[in-house]
């Protein structure tokens, strides 16, 4: 199954999704993140590698994430963890996303006839 380009709304929230996953699980590797999102959303959401890795490297550059590499199952696996600043940023980003979703819901549920 070829992956389609992710929904732009999801793509825009990808860094927050990554931060949230790491806050919940401690440390994760790239493939584990994509699988985890599929499982949590019951296959409704699929993160493509084309979107995931640039987002991970952006977070690394910003200092929100740290990495460690170790040999697992006969290959080098890179684990991502939240840095000290990343933990603070996670709370801020999740709250911002929740507020945005709430506002969107208000707009989507509003009755234009009342406006």
């Amino acid at each position: 199954m070829k992956q389609a380009e992710p929904n732009p709304v999801i793509k825009g929230s990808l860094t927050t999704i990554i931060l949230k996953l790491l806050a919940e699980n401690g440390r994760m590797y790239g493939y584990e993140m994509t699988r985890s999102v599929r499982e949590i959303t019951k296959n409704k959401m699929d993160i493509t590698e084309a979107a995931l890795y640039p987002a991970l490297h952006k977070l690394l550059e910003d200092g929100s994430l740290e990495t460690t590499s170790e040999i697992v199952d006969g290959r080098v696996r890179k684990y991502y963890t939240l840095s000290h600043s990343g933990r603070k940023e996670t709370v801020v980003k999740i709250n911002a996303l929740k507020d945005a979703i709430e506002s969107l819901q208000i707009i989507l549920n509003s009755n234009p006839a009342n406006g």
Binding site: M1, Y29, Y31, T48, P54
Partner: protein, 235 residues
């Protein structure tokens, strides 16, 4: 290790598959490998009858139309940025060090006085412009070549090298423009001053090469796990 976990020989096949798609840099190959291997294992677990070749083709298709390129691009850009930052921080530290400045000024003073003295005593075979030229060629050509030879695993496309080596050319041309004037000053003081300025420039250029070497050393220490791993798999 369960049945779906790929063996060393199968991982070698995966590495060849990645390399055949144009990704040869060891750091990049290893970065792609784990994610690709996880996907291949997922295919083999879902369908135990599938061949490794078909599992690889299906897993590769799952990466989307650009294949491994987004992972490779993001990884190389990340490495590039990381070592540029380390190199810049190293340069700032070295250039702000008052002791280094003291040594540079002392070297310039010695060259200035030495050239002046040599000129007045008709002894231009020492402290001459040829000495400056020799020093310049040593630091701009021999040192970087020796540095590259030391790290034999270097390749042109290595992101660590790309992050810092291109700066050589920029600094080189700055030094050339300072020291090699088309019309040298006619006065002895002017020429001597220019040579002293060149000494300071060469000193700081050499300092930047040492910083570059330290950055490369760190880069290779950080990536040793990748190189050692590939050696183990490829035998």
């Amino acid at each position: 290790m369960d049945n779906a976990t790929l063996s060393k020989a199968q991982l070698h096949v995966l590495i060849s598959y990645i390399e055949k798609r144009g990704f040869h840099e060891p750091l990049t190959v290893v970065e792609i490998l784990d994610h690709f291997a996880c996907k291949v294992e997922e295919k083999m677990k879902a369908n135990p009858a599938i061949s490794l070749e078909n599992a690889m083709v299906e897993a590769h298709a799952d990466f989307g139309p650009l294949g491994f390129a987004p992972i490779a691009k993001a990884f190389e850009a990340g490495v590039n940025k990381k070592y540029k930052t380390i190199y810049r921080a190293g340069l700032r530290k070295a250039f702000k060090n008052p002791m280094q400045l003291g040594v540079a000024l002392l070297a310039a003073f010695v060259f200035y006085k030495g050239y002046y003295w040599a000129y007045l005593h008709h002894s231009n075979h020492i402290f001459g412009t040829n000495d400056m030229g020799a020093l310049l060629y040593f630091t701009t050509i021999i040192f970087p070549v020796a540095m590259l030879l030391k790290y034999k695993q270097n390749r042109k496309q290595n992101p660590i090298i790309n992050a810092i080596m291109y700066r050589l050319a920029i600094i080189y041309f700055v030094i050339i423009s300072v020291t090699c004037q088309p019309e040298p000053p006619s006065s002895l003081r002017g020429l001597t001053f220019l040579l002293a300025l060149g000494t300071v420039a060469v000193f700081y250029y050499t300092l930047s090469l040492f910083t570059m070497q330290a950055t490369m050393k760190k880069g290779y220490a950080d990536s040793a796990i990748y190189y050692d791993y590939l050696k183990t798999i490829k035998g």
